[in-house]
């Protein structure tokens, strides 16, 4: 993989003294701040609050082959410093997505990572092939093999090394070459390093850590589960220590593999924690619901904090907490 993908720089919004450039394999982004899949739709709504060309990239809501209604309501329950969701991958399907969402993102000059989700290995392969041909604004693919909101837990590909690898192999085969592929992993496994290794061996450029944790809330008035889907994915600051741990473990085992860290990032300081643990980029999910300008704010705060801690480039801080003094 020698070719360098050069991506137009964001320019404004990034502090001049700290170089925030984020290298994800051959992909170079002007900022490490991304949106977390499913927490920014396809960018349009958030663009009312954030200049999306100034962040690293928009990661779009996981898209499937066919339109999907998602689950019944209630789909959400607030929890201490977080929330439980069971959206169930509602979306318009790949045709509509490529016809409307990608052209909009491209017309605005927004770097885009497309997240894909399949019911089976085949579907991931077909989606990857479609996205690969979607144009220059698509800079990478995120493969969501870890959505907890599926009817059968056994179908969470990221729970087994061999099923995770199977998906990544077909995606790699179908996109070919050096196109950046990130496998999104679940923390709900015994050994996340084992799954991470299987994905990298199967051709993943890097890993996105972490998806939500499977959780549950019971409504004490109705005496029933709070979500129509019974269980849901837990996100927000409540899961941050779990996410930092996952990034730490995977970076320790695979120090040269680029990681996108996420889980409860609300501030620049939170983002910095992930960088120190070994993430090359970070994604913001639930915080967008709390503060629709979170992306811009976190980017600024991170830049200031890096400077305060004596880093002139983001690159120098990645995995710094692992260094032996």
């Amino acid at each position: 993989m020698t070719s360098i993908r050069v991506v137009p720089k964001g320019g404004r919004g990034v502090s001049a003294e700290v170089n925030l450039e984020s290298k994800l394999g051959t992909l170079v982004l002007p900022s490490p701040v991304l949106t977390a899949s499913g927490c920014a739709a396809s960018g349009k709504e958030l663009s009312q609050f954030v200049d999306l060309t100034t962040i690293g990239a928009v990661v779009t809501k996981s898209i499937m082959m066919s339109p999907r209604s998602g689950r019944a309501t209630p789909r959400m329950a607030e929890t201490p410093s977080g929330m439980l969701n069971s959206i169930g991958l509602q979306g318009p399907g790949i045709d509509d997505f490529l016809e409307h969402d990608i052209p909009w993102l491209a017309s605005k000059g927004v770097r885009t990572m497309v997240s894909i989700a399949g019911n089976d290995v085949e579907e991931f392969g077909r989606l990857a092939a479609r996205v690969k041909r979607a144009g220059d604004s698509v800079v990478a693919l995120e493969v969501n093999i870890s959505c907890p909101n599926v009817a059968n837990r056994g179908l969470v590909f990221a729970c087994q090394p061999h099923s995770a690898a199977e998906v990544i192999s077909i995606v790699r085969r179908n996109v070919g070459g050096a196109f950046p592929i990130f496998a999104k992993l679940s923390p709900d496994v015994t050994d996340i390093v084992e799954i991470a290794k299987a994905c990298v061996d199967a051709g993943a450029t890097g890993l996105s850590l972490i998806n939500t944790l499977l959780g549950m809330v019971i409504n004490t008035e109705t005496l029933k589960p709070a979500l129509a889907g019974v269980t849901g994915g837990l996100s927000g600051p409540a899961i941050r220590p779990v996410a930092v741990r996952a990034v730490w473990q995977v970076h320790a085992a695979l120090p040269h593999v680029p990681l996108i860290g996420m889980g409860g990032i609300l501030t620049g300081e939170d983002a910095f924690e992930f960088i120190l643990a070994g993430a090359s980029a970070i994604a913001i999910g639930t915080a967008n619901f709390h503060d629709p300008s979170a992306l811009t704010r976190v980017q600024k705060e991170l830049s200031v904090l890096l400077a305060e801690r004596g880093f002139s480039a983001l690159q120098d801080a990645i995995g710094f907490a692992h260094r032996k003094v």
């Binding site: 789909r75 969701n85 509602q90 979306g91 609300l266």
Partner: protein
Amino acid sequence: MNFQPLQVEGELLSNRRVGAYHLITIVVPGIPERIRPGNFVALSVGGESTSTLLRRSFSVYQAQERGLYGGTLELVISAHGAGTRWLAALAPHQMINVVGPLGRPFPLPKDPVHALLVGGGYGSAPLFMLADALRQRGCRVDMALGAASADRLFGTLEARRVTNALSIATDDGSLGVQGRVTDAARSILERANIDVIYACGPMPMLSALTTLGGEFGVMVQCAVEESMACGIGICMTCVLPVRGNDDVVRMSRSCVDGPVFAGDRVLWESIGSVPEETLGAPKASEH
């Protein structure tokens, strides 16, 4: 037409009890002039180090472009959960982050029609700006307000000022006639020639009014209340089954496609489920 929402750090001007509710006034420069009747705003709650991160959505009762302190919004808060209790306990000068205007406002008629406005509980809040806008267009405005008890009615005095006729119904009969607001609406429909109904309140009330409107051949514009996490269209939690103009049923986001929907477009009976005919509904084999 819709204005682009702003995110503004607001300052509480006043907070007073009105019956079972709290009426809060927030200074939020920029937002009030953009509010149309039926728009809502989403507030962050719990202060700087909050553990309740999701936004709380509220209808706008009054929006004042210019005041002594700059533009203000008045909201009616019914305190029950963590966030609404926090809002109800706010003291002057405390800061609240406000996002708005959000959602599609009530569509206004071009002609000077005869409108019936129906509010259930604090659902009356957005109807006063609407009544003003309708009257400015020469419409005749009747209003029916209902609640469990008198203290859960909001704005009955104000309602007399902005309407041509007012009916009140309470479940316990503590004010107005004893009974449901839908019964009050029925008697108005029976005696007057109503062209359009605007409604805001609990979902069962909206559902019943839609049926009633159908009986009399009157369109019902409903402002719905679905549980929301963001209010701006990015989380997909606030959906309900709605039939589009293309006749396709979709799980529509009530924060951006609503909160105002034509009642006959909403599959009221199916709220809380995914009707089989919905685009992309799970096949029976997937259950």
